[in-house]
């Protein structure tokens, strides 16, 4: 088996190194993008490139914005409770 094939297969049998830090929460962004793409692919009556990208970006942006607002509210709440 060529070395490249072995390397590709091996990368699926051991986990990547991701630390437990605030940056690791950024892994939600590709997931939100996938959800927005599939949701819009099922909901739009007709799919044209421009319209699909526009609708998907709107859903992606509003989801991320809502999560950021929720994070800030919870952070402020935790700060108020802590003082």
């Amino acid at each position: 088996m060529p070395i490249m094939d072995i390397w590709i297969m091996a990368s699926f049998t051991s986990p990547e190194r991701i630390g437990i830090n605030p940056q690791s929460t950024l892994w939600l962004i590709p997931l939100v993008a996938a959800i927005a793409i599939v949701y819009k692919a099922t909901k739009l009556p007709t799919i044209t490139l421009g319209n699909f990208i526009k609708e998907t970006m709107a859903l992606f942006g509003s989801t991320v914005a809502f999560m950021v607002i929720t994070t800030l509210v919870l952070y402020v709440l935790a700060w108020i409770i802590a003082i």
Binding site: S11, F12, T13, S14, P15, E16, R17, I18, G19, I20, S24, W27, P30, L31, A34, I35, I37, V38, Y39, A41, T42, I47, F52
Partner: protein, 133 residues
């Protein structure tokens, strides 16, 4: 006649649902929704692939994480082959990569479930149009 038509409809819906489950996007492809099927296939396969790349194939755990496994198997029945391979616990999975991998693979499975339901809904609509409804 009406009974036979009804049975054929149910059979058609079952074929659409089964195809959509076996291969993400295949249900829409059968309904001539080629753009939708390509978008669904690429997105779901990439999300699932990213999940098993980040957390290793050990994130598919039919014994220790049954609720996650039920969501993961919605990707395709082929996931059960991976589940069979990992059932012995021979692939390491731990910490944050394990969590992220499990979430990615499960969410892609639930997205495919949404696509299965949508494909059957579209099949129902197209049948209704053919029947003049």
């Amino acid at each position: 006649m009406g009974q036979q038509l009804k049975e054929n409809r149910i059979l058609f819906f079952m074929v659409v649902a089964l195809l959509a489950w076996c291969l993400p996007g295949a249900g829409h492809f059968l309904l001539n929704e080629k753009k939708r099927s390509i978008i669904i296939f690429v997105t779901i396969v990439l999300t699932f692939g990213a999940g098993i790349y980040i957390g290793s194939i050990g994130v598919i755990e039919p014994v220790g994480a049954k609720p996650w496994y039920i969501a993961q198997i919605m990707n395709s029945p082929m996931v059960s082959v991976l589940g069979y391979a990992t059932a012995g616990g021979s692939y390491p999975v731990y910490g944050r990569p394990g969590e992220i991998g499990q979430i990615y693979t499960s969410i892609s499975g639930l997205l495919n479930l949404l696509c299965i339901v949508n494909a059957v809904y579209l099949a129902n609509l197209s049948r209704a149009k053919v029947a003049g409804g």
